[in-house]
């Protein structure tokens, strides 16, 4: 199993550890519900050093990325990031990722840990443009500092004016006396805050500085368990659950990152454009339980008579709403907001209504 710069620290802090994407990662510390509420109301720190980072450079970087990703990289200014995905040539998704426009002719891709090798191979075999590719996954570590108090904690450690960095904007600067830290106004929680990228050897210095300054704000370390409940309350897709090689971006509700710009030709463009125009037979929806219960990945979604109309891809109890929430693919005729659907739990049909995520507000006062 691989380690991050923080693995020994998680163990010393008493986290429940588990293998995730080949890394020994913290699942929970004080408990998923408690950690969830800390991020919604205060500030929490996630070790996400397992994520993958690729650099794409040179004059061919832009045409390469335009071909491989669905979003419009030509419209991405320097200092901004965009959410996008790699279509797989068969109407499915290789991975979802962030593209950072770092310098002219220099981009950073941040991909899911479980897909690092698959994505890297995909980039290499499709690089007929001759972009310069560099897999820096093992040379970059990452912490996500999330929550309504994240900025006031982080601001004490840098001269960079964090309040001037817009959502999905980033700057490179000195942080906790460590040079060249990427300070990115992004996250996977809906609670606000920043994601920081740095060299692994600087990890402990950065962690210690954040926890020292964050103490008065009630800062806590957060595990992957709460990361999942937090992203699910926002309706953010998780690769491997809600999207994968068999789901199209249009079915997944990712039409907003699929840009059919006139001068952008990309993998699966014709197919996806046709899906957008003609419609798809199933769609990823959000749903909320009307009775007690917790939906889980793999449960059957049915009509009122128990006939299968799809499957749950992600589910949990919402710590904020205290009801079962989830996502799943259903036949398009059931995908309208307000539709009544049922989830089969051990033979019992639990009624639910289709809702449009986010399920709740990302920040609670």
């Amino acid at each position: 199993m691989k380690s991050t710069p923080f693995t020994d620290l998680h163990i010393a802090l008493g986290a429940k550890m588990h293998e995730f994407a080949g890394y020994n990662m913290p699942i929970e510390y004080s408990g998923i519900l408690d950690e969830h509420m800390v991020v919604r109301s205060k500030v929490g720190v996630f070790d996400v050093s397992h994520m993958g980072e690729f650099w794409v450079k040179g004059k061919n970087a832009l045409p390469f990325l335009q071909k491989l990703t669905t979003n419009d990289v030509a419209s991405l200014p320097i200092g901004k990031a965009q959410y996008t995905c790699f279509p797989n040539g068969k109407g499915g998704i290789v991975d979802d990722l962030l593209v950072y426009h770092y310098h002219p002719e220099k981009y950073l891709l941040v991909v899911n840990a479980a897909n690092i090798d698959k994505d890297w191979n995909w980039c290499v075999i499709n690089n007929s443009e001759g972009a310069e590719l560099e897999n820096s996954s093992d040379r970059m570590a990452q912490l996500a500092v999330q929550g309504p108090k994240a900025v006031e904690v982080l601001q004490q450690l840098t001269e960079v004016d964090l309040s001037a960095i817009p959502y999905y904007g980033f700057q490179v600067g000195t942080f906790a006396n460590v040079p060249e830290v990427i300070l990115s106004n992004t996250g996977y929680t809906g609670a606000g805050g920043f994601e920081l990228y740095f060299y692994p050897e600087d990890g402990m210095k950065i962690w210690n500085a954040i926890f020292e300054k964050g103490k008065p704000a009630g800062i806590q370390p957060i595990g992957l368990g709460a990361r999942d409940t937090l992203r699910l309350e926002m309706g953010f897709a998780l690769y491997g659950n809600d999207i994968d090689d068999t789901t199209s971006p249009i079915e997944a509700g990712l039409g907003w990152i699929t840009k059919f710009a006139p001068d952008k030709s990309f993998i699966d463009r014709d197919l996806l454009e046709r899906q957008k125009k003609e419609g798809v037979s199933r769609r990823l929806i959000g749903f909320q339980f009307l009775e007690k219960g917790i939906p889980r990945h793999g449960y059957e979604i049915t009509d009122e008579f128990g006939g299968s109309i799809g499957k749950v891809t992600s589910g949990t109890i919402s710590p904020i709403l205290k009801v079962g929430i989830g996502m799943g693919y259903v036949a398009t005729s059931f995908a309208t907001v307000g539709s009544e659907i049922y989830i089969s739990i051990r033979g019992k049909l639990i009624p639910a209504k289709v809702v449009k995520p986010p399920f709740c507000k990302g920040v609670t006062a």
């Binding site: 699942i27 929970e28 408990g31 998923i32 368990g225 409940t229 007690k292 219960g293 917790i294 889980r296």
Partner: protein, 125 residues
């Protein structure tokens, strides 16, 4: 890990406490710790007579769900109503306030087949 001496245990991490004709059933400290925060307990078998090993309900934690099994054959006469509003009692006091069902045992000879505290301790390390 808290494993009281006066209880009987199953390899599925239930405990059984015999009080005359009736017995209380819950899950062990080890089980609640593995499950994490419990958010509700779903008991489907009140009023039913079940064989040892049969499912009498399920317990839902944030991250996972687990079936609950009868440690010994019996009639499920009551569930702990407090758990409806306070499922966290199973985490906070698994052998006390967090008991799950009350049963009348139909075959007390089955108790001898359950694990003693010592054997259960060996099982969970």
């Amino acid at each position: 890990m808290n494993i009281p001496e006066n209880l009987y245990y199953t390899p599925e991490h239930e405990w059984l406490r015999v009080e005359g004709e009736t017995a209380f059933v819950g899950i062990t400290d080890f089980a609640q710790s593995e499950l994490g925060e419990i958010v509700f307990v779903d008991i489907t078998a009140v009023g039913e007579t079940l064989k040892a090993g049969a499912t009498f309900g399920s317990i839902e934690a944030v991250k996972t769900v687990s079936d609950l099994f009868m440690p010994a054959s019996g009639n499920v006469i009551e569930m702990n109503a407090k758990l409806n509003d306070h499922p966290e009692l199973v985490n906070d006091d698994p052998y006390g306030e967090g008991w799950i069902i009350k049963t009348t045992l139909t075959d007390s000879s089955e108790i001898a087949k359950l694990l003693t505290a010592e054997k259960y301790k060996a099982l969970v390390g």
